[in-house]
């Protein structure tokens, strides 16, 4: 077990859990239900999101074995049948509106066992979830070739014109009936919306009018694959041709292992509406030339070109030294669609070398460090406010709409707040435009603490601003609150004076700060003042209105100061 864990770690996989079917059921449903379930040890492995070739057991094992140098990397071959003998998939122009692209291939003389069959279905599901983005980009259909006759037509028809027996059903349905049938199916209902509102639904027929599938929803029952299936027709349809090609390549490379002639795939000719044809699968082997010194430099190792070639070959990137020893020719197989730049090759070389074998160095870069002025000011003010006897709080930047509007006796439209489109709970509907609700909620959560409660926070608030390149900006606010049996306006006022004192802002009209009586919706009438400094209004202070106090579930009076500190940077 530990050895496997090490291997996974080195290779870049995460061994999440070592469990068994019995354990899984125990955890989810209780020990009773688990009796009789398999005790066979199961490994849960986390695969990086860009390695589609490791998503099935076959690919994973193959990758690890090449890594350990137990087997050589297989060569995947495309067999192009003689003229007139191969299968053809004809795409009509009606598909352009709904799901334009399609690719196909054939696996000849394949042998399925229960495990292989399960793995086959499993890989399709995983690919659907991962690169196909829940079937939106690409949908995979696999069919028993011996039950149908080519050439096949991929077209799009009105829902009422499509009628067939879907997989595992007992009777025929029209397409619209199928939509209703699967509306409550926990698995398929998530995909219905992909074609539901289109005038035509995609459908694939064989030359006798038998329906192979209606992508991306369901295959026909007629072409269902069983353990006795010998020849498989695979089709991938979708809206992204690059991904469709990758998906097809992955499926055929993984499972061609079980064909009579291992690692061979029979090609299919796809005919486009404009008459052009293309042979799929592409199974392209790409060659990249990399300089060994580039790899050595980027990683920080010094390996000879031939040892680098060996390392890369272990990662399924067959390489050999060319030129006069200073070039590496790397062959990228169709299973590695994640290699799109020389830096991907560099990473693979580093993985084969072993990350933890690389020597750690410190860069020789000399730089002079700097703190951002706004943050420096905030840090200094935090120290001074704490010294004045106030306790710092850190609250959420997202809150509910009521928190910044109704509970503060103001209207949401007056707040200029940034609104979230998809909050999971009502607590995260808007970004806060004032620090006050956060502090009031903090006090409400700490009612049992001894009075007086003196809290402060220096943090960002967010407002809409049409002048920025994104349409909103942050302001650094300082908010302090005093909660006690008496409101303590003089204490908050004293705090303001102290803050101005440490900021070296004199208390006068011209170049300093003043306060003028004002009205604030969240404040007690007649007990509110606006703070002016550097020629602008920077905030308010005063006694909080009783309604506000009650709305935040508090019972005692309090006074608060909130100012924008950015003018003082």
């Amino acid at each position: 077990d530990e050895e496997f864990d090490e291997l996974c770690f080195e290779f870049g996989l995460e061994l999440d859990e070592i469990t068994s079917e019995k354990d899984i059921i125990s955890k989810e449903k209780g020990e009773e239900k688990a009796k009789g379930a398999s005790d066979v040890v199961l490994y849960k492995i986390d695969v990086p999101a860009n390695r589609y070739d490791l998503l099935c057991l076959e690919g994973l094992v193959r990758g690890l074995q090449v890594f350990k140098e137990r087997i050589n990397l297989p060569r995947y071959e495309k067999i192009i049948p003689a003229e007139g003998e191969g299968q053809r998939l004809i795409i009509t122009e009606q598909t352009a509106q709904v799901r334009p692209h399609a690719v196909a291939a054939v696996l000849r003389n394949i042998t399925f066992t229960k495990d292989r069959y399960d793995s086959f279905i499993d890989l399709q599901e995983k690919l659907h979830q991962n690169i196909c983005r829940k079937r939106a980009l690409v949908a995979i259909g696999t069919h028993d070739l011996d039950t149908i006759t080519g050439p096949f037509t991929y077209t799009a028809k009105a829902p009422s014109e499509i009628k067939f027996k879907p997989l595992n059903q007992s009777q025929e349905y029209t397409a619209s009936q199928i939509m209703d049938l699967y509306r409550t199916d926990s698995h398929l209902r998530h995909y219905l919306h992909l074609i539901e509102n289109k005038p035509r639904y995609p459908v694939i027929y064989d030359s006798n009018g038998v329906v192979l599938s209606m992508p991306p929803i369901i295959n026909g029952d007629h072409t269902k694959i069983t353990l006795n299936t010998r020849n498989v027709f695979i089709e991938c349809t979708g809206t992204d041709i690059t991904k469709a090609k990758i998906v097809l390549d992955i499926i055929v490379t993984m499972f061609s292992e079980y064909c009579e002639k291992p690692f061979t795939v029979e090609a299919v000719e796809v005919v486009y509406p404009n008459g052009k044809t293309h042979i799929y699968p592409e199974l392209a082997y790409r060659t990249e030339k990399v300089k060994p010194e580039y790899i050595n430099k980027k990683v920080g190792i010094s390996e000879t070109p031939s040892s680098l070639a060996k390392l890369l070959t272990r990662m399924c990137l067959k390489s050999h030294v060319t030129g006069n020893g200073n070039h590496l020719e790397v062959e990228i197989p169709p299973t590695r669609a994640d290699i799109i730049h020389a830096c991907d090759i560099v990473e693979d070389a580093a993985i084969a070398y072993g990350y933890n074998n690389i020597q750690m160095l410190i860069p020789k870069t000399y730089t002079i460090a700097n703190q951002l002025p706004l943050n420096k000011l905030a840090e200094l003010l935090r120290l001074d406010l704490a010294a004045a006897g106030f306790t710092e709080a850190l609250t959420f930047a997202l809150c509910s709409q009521e928190d910044i509007a109704d509970k503060l006796r103001t209207d949401i439209s007056a707040t200029n707040a940034v609104r979230i489109a998809n909050p999971k709970t009502a607590e995260f509907q808007v970004a806060r435009t004032t620090l006050l609700p956060g502090l009031l909620k903090t006090i409400a959560a700490n009612r049992k603490m001894p009075l007086p409660l003196k809290l402060f926070e220096i943090s960002d608030i967010v407002v809409k601003d049409p002048n920025t390149d994104v349409g909103a900006r942050n302001y650094r606010h300082l908010c302090a609150i005093y909660y006690n049996k008496s409101p303590g306006f003089e204490i908050i006022h004293g705090l303001l004076d102290r803050v101005m004192q440490v900021l070296e802002v004199p208390p006068n009209e011209g170049n300093g700060y003043t306060i003028k009586a004002a009205e604030g919706t969240a404040f007690f009438p007649g007990r509110c003042a606006e703070v002016f400094a550097k020629g602008q209004s920077i905030g308010k202070l005063g006694v909080v209105h009783p309604d506000v106090i009650t709305k935040f579930e508090l019972t005692m009076p309090c006074s608060v100061l909130e100012i924008n500190i950015e003018p003082f940077v």
Binding site: L361, T367, V470
Partner: protein
């Protein structure tokens, strides 16, 4: 290390994802993981010359890369969101650096809030803080990255480190940093890192 300006919670998808080579169909850009904004929903402006370069690299490739080969939509890039990582601020900082007349090596850092659309539980918050650091210079290697990380963590009192290959859309090679937790008696992930893609 010099502090980067990070005082913008609202970010456009462009800086948070596209400029960092995260494809527009990536699951993390889903409704489930990111907070998208209702108002303001779209960023009024994207840097014009730069955004066309980003479009090209995603759809056709460039700078030695094959690219993702899909249709890059500017409407996706304009969608506003609450940033999911402070790397968007790093991208902006690097962009400014690139526009300097003469290249000077830099070391940047930031510690600020990020937002992820998650349900709250014992180990997950919807908003949390990230510490981010980056070094830009000529001749840097993976070994240098590991060296800096080891120094950083040793100052925090964490000295047993192991590095694991990982995947980020914007770095290659990438490493997850693991440290042995005495209390839990197992290796836990303490950080993520990588060398930015060319």
């Amino acid at each position: 290390f010099t502090e980067m300006p990070t005082d913008n919670f609202v970010e456009s998808s462009f800086w948070n994802f596209d400029a960092l080579f995260q494809p527009q169909q990536h699951p993390a850009r889903d409704q489930h993981d990111t907070f998208f904004l209702l108002d303001p929903a779209e960023a009024p402006q994207l840097p014009p010359g730069y955004s066309s370069k980003v479009k090209k690299v995603h759809s056709q490739g460039g700078y030695g890369s094959q690219g993702y080969r899909y249709e890059w939509k500017v409407e996706e890039a304009k969608k506003n969101l609450l940033r999911t990582h402070t790397t968007s601020a790093s991208a902006r900082a690097l962009f400014q650096l690139a526009r300097q007349e003469k290249f000077s090596p830099v070391k940047y850092f930031s510690i600020d809030r990020v937002f992820r659309n998650e349900s709250l539980d014992a180990t997950h918050l919807a908003e949390f803080h990230q510490v981010e650091g980056l070094v830009a210079d000529r001749g840097l290697t993976l070994g240098h990255l590991m060296g800096i990380l080891r120094q950083f963590f040793s100052k925090l009192g964490i000295s047993q480190l192991r590095f694991k290959p990982a995947y980020n859309p914007y770095t290659e090679p990438s490493m997850e940093v693991f440290s042995y937790h005495e209390g839990l008696k197992k290796w836990v992930e303490v950080g993520n890192s990588g060398v930015f893609r060319p």
